[in-house]
Every structure is written in C-alpha cells, then in structure tokens.
C-alpha cells in the first residue's frame, strides 16, 4: 500500500527532478524500501500518482533485478558467484551458506528470517569473495565470517522476542 508518507516522498522526488519520467525507478525503489517489496496495487497506485499508464510502471518494475515484486525474507543474502570471487573460493561460499541455513538458491527459511540468492559481480572483486545482506556489502568473506554474521542476526532476533 502506498501510504501518505510514501506519496509525499514520491511527490518530493518528482518536484526535484527536471522531468517526472525520471521519478519512476526512484519511486519504485522507495516503495520497496518501506514496504519490503512492490505489490501489484503499489504499481497501480504509482501509475496514478505519476500519471503514467500502468504498463509503463509494470515494465520498468519487472526489468530490474533489485526490484522485488514478491515478498522476501527480512535478511536477503546475495552472494556473488562471478569469476573473481569464485577464483578465491575453495568451496563456493553460496554452498556453505545454503548448507548452514538449510535452504537452496532462491529459497527462504521457514521463519522468514533469511533468503538466499546468487548474484553477479558486486564491484567488490578486489575484496573477494563478496556478498550483500539487504543493502550492506560484506567483503573478504570466509566461512568463519559467515558464521559470525548469521549467528549475530539470529541472536539479535532472539533478543527481540
């Protein structure tokens, strides 16, 4: 749902730009940031706010790999599987994380805490292997570091409950 805060932010974005066309991708990214993903009704409402045909919003939203049209887990782990990162791995990092979380590439844990996805180069090739969790980069990864990060997230989650 696009609430009043999202609507105002989007209108603010439009106002700053030389042309409202340019607001489409930032608006979609902002909806995702607040709502976690972009729903069909979000896109319909955005079409009204920006005064574009729905098809135009749908087409853009479905093109970009960082825009998610379905809900994802709270911690979305994206592991680079491109060349430079894989050269430094003895066993692929993604396989290790997959084993640790008990989920495959593209799946989420049943508690909705983690999801896992392989991605292409993250621009961290000199600090490989690399991965991202939500919007944060993690570089020079090792299995120990994976354990540390995931265990910490799990502990914090326990504290919340």
């Amino acid at each position: 749902m696009i609430d009043e805060n999202i609507r105002q932010t989007i209108e603010g974005i439009v106002k700053k730009l030389p042309c409202r066309d340019t607001a489409v991708v930032p608006a979609l990214s902002y909806i995702q940031k607040v709502n976690g993903h972009i729903s069909e009704s979000d896109m319909e409402e955005l079409a009204v706010i920006l005064q574009f045909p729905q098809a135009r919003i749908f087409s853009a939203a479905s093109f970009y790999s960082m825009l998610k049209l379905r809900p994802k887990a709270r911690y979305h782990i994206q592991v680079c599987t491109n060349v430079s990162c894989s050269l430094l791995e003895t066993e692929p990092l993604i396989d290790y994380i997959s084993g640790k979380l008990g989920i495959g590439n593209g799946e989420s844990t049943s508690d909705g805490l983690f999801s896992l996805e392989s991605v292409e180069c993250l621009g961290s090739c000199g600090y490989a292997p690399a991965m991202m969790i939500n919007t944060d980069h993690y570089e020079n990864m090792s299995f120990d570091k994976v354990d540390e990060i995931i265990d910490k997230i799990r502990r914090n989650k326990m504290d919340e409950l």
Partner: protein, 412 residues
C-alpha cells in the same frame, strides 16, 4: 608524480570538502571558469583524454561533436554503473575523493553548456550514493555547485540517481532509458546521445574516472597529461586487479605499463607461489590472454595488437589450478542473465551458449558442442543493437580457441 587520481590517496577525511579544498581542490574549476567553453574544450582535446568507461573514445572529440547541437538544453551524465565484472575503480573515487568527481563534472558541464547533471550510480553502491549526496550538498553550500558557481553567472545542479540492478544499463543509451523511467534497453544509434539523449536533448555521458582526470588537465595543462603514458594512450589509468594474486586491489599506473609488471610487482605475484595460467586484461568482456602473452603494454593499441582490449582496465588473474571451461560457463551465465532481451540473436544466443557450456562442464557435452558455441558467437556478433553482443561473444571465443584441449577433455 605519476599519480593523478591517487594524488591525495590516504589523506584522512578526504571526502570532506574542507579537506579537499585545503589540498588545492576546486582551484581547477576556478581556472576553467576563467576560460571560455571553446578554449576549455580545445585544452581537453589537446590532452588526448580517452574515456575510461570501456570504449576509449576521446573526450574532446565528444565535446566538439556536441557543439553542433548546442542550441538546446544540454545534459551531463556521469556513468557510475560500474558493472563490468573485475572492475572496481569508480567506487574508490566516489567513496574517498567525491569532490574530485564533482569538480570534474562541473568543468565538463561548463565546457559543454550543461546546467543539469546526473550521477547514475549502480544500486548496490548504496553507501557511496549517500556520500555523493552529502558531497553535492556541501559543494552547493560553498558555492562550487548550484547557482552562480564560484561567483560566475554559470549554474550547475547535480542529482544522484540510483540504478536498480542491471549490467546493460551501463551502456549509455540503456542508461538514458533507465533515467527516463523505462526498462534499460539500449537504443539504436544513431542518433548518438550528443544529438539526442536524455529527454531527446543533447547529452554528454562520461565514466566517473574520465571526469576525474579533468581537474588535473585544467590545472597542469594538456602537455603534463600527455607526458605520462604512451602515444595516443596518454595519462595514467586505474587498474583493478583481482583473482589469484597476493595483493589484489586498485592501482594507478601510467598507460602502457607492462601487464607482467602489474601482476608481479604491483599485485605481488601469484598466490601461494603458484604459476600463472591466464589473465583477462580489461574486464570480463575482454578476450583472455595466456601466460606467455603477458609481456604486453597496457594501452589501447598494444592490447588490440594481441587480439584483446584495455576495456575497463579490470585485470582478472588465474593461476594454474583454474579450470577454464568453468570460467567460460560463468562468463556465459553472466551474459545470458544480463541480456536485455531486445534482439533475438543476443537473447536466444547467449542462453544457448549458457546451456551448451553448462553441459560441457557437467561432462555431458557432445562432440559438436564446442563448435556450436563458436558458431553461435559468430551469429550473435554484428546482429545486435548494442555492443553487448560483442562483449558477450569475444571472451567466450577466445577461451575456447586458446584452451580448446580442456574443453575437449570434458566431452563424452
């Protein structure tokens, strides 16, 4: 002396405007504003500065092209999509020396008559986008951007635009489509962006690093820039070195520095004392070199003469344990994933190559599969809207040609 971009590398808090100014920052912009745009363009043209985004097109020539069209609004775009695997240079400039880029952008804007600019940064660089937004605010507060730049009657505004995950958006016309709120599918050229770019207006697009050379050129003159480097590959360049080396990282060296020297001296040689097997010299789209081909100068002409290219200067080093068919399969997967899907040869062809290379690596390839991949590469090339078709096929072809035995050994 041979450091241009790295001149102030390591200075604490360099990203802060006061620190940057204390080191002489923004004086080049002042000097640029005292010239007229034609003089400034001539100066950059004489330096021979070439684009660092991959194609190596001369910046001065691009600006002169624009003059023909400069009757309308002009836009300046900084290409910070940095998606070429093996490349991580632009992020350094933006994260640690953002005002160098902003000063370069203001110089380019004044020369080309642009009053509005965009930095199109890849979505994954979220923390860097925040640094840029802050730097722009500070520069505007201190009068280096915004209205009346440094007391002149020139105004220039910059917006940061975050991409949303797409390699092909690094291609200049796909980037423009994306800025216009559409899917990032490249446009047919011509018209080139200089004639009709963002919102149909004349547009100049440069890579982050290209723009960051401008303050040095304006301050020290074109001769100082040309004095570094080799012939028509002047100046220095930022080499991203990754893979099986002891000291992976970002290095600034003159154009024309030997690849061997970069691997064995700058990057400290091969990890674990192993032997070198192969090197990709200019990002994943550049054809691979075998270990006996690395006695080559890293400049446009020398690399072309050995059948590869400087590209984005992303050097990926592979040791003797590397299985080349696996690298080929990852390369094929990358391009199949990133094809925008608009041209059938690229969309279907890259996917067929992906399937074939996966089959070969899985040990299930048949005798014709290798030649079928080579045929597909030839079909794709030249039959596509953008240069992605070339980028996706040249590296695959080179890996097969140079390491064919490894592929054949995997066939059933």
């Amino acid at each position: 002396m041979d450091k241009i971009i790295f001149k102030n590398k390591g200075v604490p808090d360099l990203h802060k405007i006061d620190v940057y100014r204390g080191l002489g920052g923004y004086t080049a912009l002042g000097k640029a504003l005292s010239l007229n745009p034609e003089e400034l363009t001539r100066l950059v043209d004489e330096s021979g500065l070439r684009g660092r985004g991959g194609a190596g097109f001369p910046a001065g020539a691009k600006w002169k092209l624009l003059m023909k069209y400069k009757v309308k609004t002009v836009y300046l775009i900084c290409n910070a999509d940095e998606g070429e695997p093996g490349t991580f240079k632009d992020r350094y400039v933006m994260e640690f020396d953002p005002h160098l880029l902003l000063e370069g952008m203001a110089i380019a804007a004044y020369a080309t008559g642009a009053h509005h600019g965009f930095i199109y940064i890849r979505g994954e660089y979220d923390w860097i986008a925040k640094i840029l937004v802050k730097a722009i605010e500070d520069a505007q507060t201190k009068g280096f951007l915004g209205s009346n730049v440094m007391g002149s009657d020139y105004s220039f505004y910059i917006d940061v635009f975050r991409g949303a995950g797409s390699y092909v958006c690094g291609e200049e016309t796909a980037l423009i489509e994306s800025l216009e709120g559409k899917a990032g599918r490249p446009r047919l050229k011509p018209p080139f962006p200089a004639a009709s770019g963002l919102y149909g207006e004349p547009t100049v697009i440069h890579n982050v690093t290209t723009l960051s050379y401008l303050p040095f050129i304006v301050e020290n003159g074109p001769e100082a820039y040309r004095a570094i480097g080799e012939g028509w590959s002047g100046g220095t360049t930022l080499f991203s070195i990754s893979g099986d080396v002891n000291k992976p990282g970002l290095y600034e060296y003159p154009m024309g520095t030997s690849l061997k020297k970069l691997i064995y001296e700058a990057a400290g040689g091969i990890r674990g004392g192993k032997n070198l097997k192969a090197v990709i010299p200019g990002g994943l789209s550049s054809p691979i070199l075998k270990s006996d081909e690395i006695d080559v100068a890293m400049d446009y002409q020398s690399l072309n003469s050995v059948g590869t290219m400087l590209g984005s200067c992303g050097i990926i080093v592979m040791d003797e344990d590397t299985v080349i068919p696996v690298i080929t399969q990852k390369t094929a997967r990358f391009f199949a994933h990133e094809s925008c899907g608009q041209c059938a040869p690229c969309r279907e062809g890259t996917n067929m190559i992906r399937h074939l290379t996966e089959r070969i690596v899985a040990g299930k390839g048949c005798s014709d599969d290798i030649d079928q991949v080579l045929r597909l590469c030839r079909y794709i090339r030249g039959a596509t809207i953008c240069a992605f078709g070339i980028a996706a096929t040249l590296p695959i072809e080179a890996m097969i040609r140079k390491f064919r035995g490894e592929f054949e050994a995997l066939l059933i």
